[in-house]
């Protein structure tokens, strides 16, 4: 349990609870979810995270993410 590699944090992504490895960036999170960061926009705790900084912002315990993209609409 003391191995830092196995430590995880608890977050919400699009309303769903998830556990992800501690210390990863939002860009890592997007990749882990199978998403292409260039096609989505990320909101973290109600604040937009500029795409250019996704690689630098660490995912922290308790974070609430909305990850959106464009879909068909009128």
């Amino acid at each position: 349990m003391n191995d830092p590699e196995l430590e995880t944090v608890s977050i919400r992504v699009n309303g769903q609870h998830r556990r992800v490895p501690k210390g990863i960036s939002i860009a890592d999170l997007a990749l882990e979810l199978g998403l292409e960061p260039t096609k989505v926009a990320v909101e973290r705790n109600l604040e937009i995270v500029p795409r250019s900084t996704l690689g630098q912002v660490p995912v922290e315990d308790g974070d609430d993410y909305e990850i959106v993209t464009f879909v068909g609409g009128g």
């Binding site: 769903q16 989505v40 926009a41 993209t69 464009f70 879909v71 609409g73 009128g74």
Partner: protein, 257 residues
């Protein structure tokens, strides 16, 4: 034929038909309909990505935002705050400032809430957005929207998705006459003649989704709408004849045998 383009927020477009991308059977049909419509602008919605199936096809893979202008909408938003949040995310996702603002009053009619719509327009314009605004057929509200920074006024012709055709020709004509920004009928068109009516009133364009997507043959209807918008526009520019209450023969009366 001379070139008859229209401008919105400093951008120039040739096609006066804007089409939605919702309700299609699949992306292939959607893309084919957009192609047939000749539209240069499509509306798109902003929604959560499906994280349980991230590999499913995405709109951007089928309709290229480099070739077709994406107009992100705020469909489903009932407050100014929801709409602004949605458009900020849209801006981050695609970088666009030209957006379609709609703030709905209630779900049954999808009629716009003009108080919230005006409030959202003011805030968005201050943030650098260029909102094209879905609105009531209310010339006074339209004027206020313009003053607040709306780059286009988009009154409904009938409830969204109803296909009833223009129920409010008089008000839309008044809005066209007074507006300094483009006026587009957004919502209510059911078939080609409805689109032509909107254009004959002098509107700068028409925005539609369901009329094409729910046609039995959406691609053929897309082409019909393209022709109707062009036809209505030409008729408006040509200047229609005056109306008479009684007949006026087209053949000369002189020389009758």
């Amino acid at each position: 034929m001379d070139k008859d383009s229209w401008q919105v927020a400093g951008r120039s477009f040739t096609s006066r038909l804007i089409v939605g991308t919702g309700k299609y059977k699949d992306f292939a049909q959607n893309a084919a309909a957009v192609e047939a419509s000749g539209a240069e602008i499509v509306t798109v919605a902003v929604r959560r990505v499906n994280i349980s199936d991230p590999k499913q096809p995405m709109l951007m893979d089928h309709i290229d935002p480099k070739k077709i202008t994406y107009l992100p909408n705020t469909a489903g938003c009932f407050t100014a705050e929801e709409a602004i949040r949605t458009l900020r995310l849209a801006h981050e996702a695609g970088g666009w400032t030209l957006v379609k603002l709609e703030v709905l009053g209630e779900a049954k009619t999808l009629y716009p809430d003009m108080v919230e719509t005006l409030r959202a327009t003011e805030i968005l314009a201050k943030e650098g957005f260029e909102p094209m605004v879905y609105c009531a057929d209310d010339p006074i509200a339209a004027k206020r929207l313009e003053d607040a920074g709306a780059v286009a006024i988009m009154p409904l012709g009938a409830p969204i998705g109803s296909g009833l055709g223009l129920q409010n020709k008089v008000m839309i004509r008044i809005m066209v006459e007074q507006a300094k920004v483009p006026v587009l009928v957004d919502a209510g068109v059911g078939t080609a003649s409805d689109a032509a009516v909107a254009m004959e009133l002098g509107c700068d364009g028409v925005l539609m989704n369901t009329a094409i997507a729910e046609a039995k043959d959406p691609v053929m209807m897309a082409r019909a709408m393209k022709l109707a918008v062009e036809s209505g526009r030409l008729a408006y520019r040509a200047g229609r004849m005056g109306k008479r209450r009684y007949a006026d023969p087209s053949s000369p009366l002189a020389g009758l045998i």
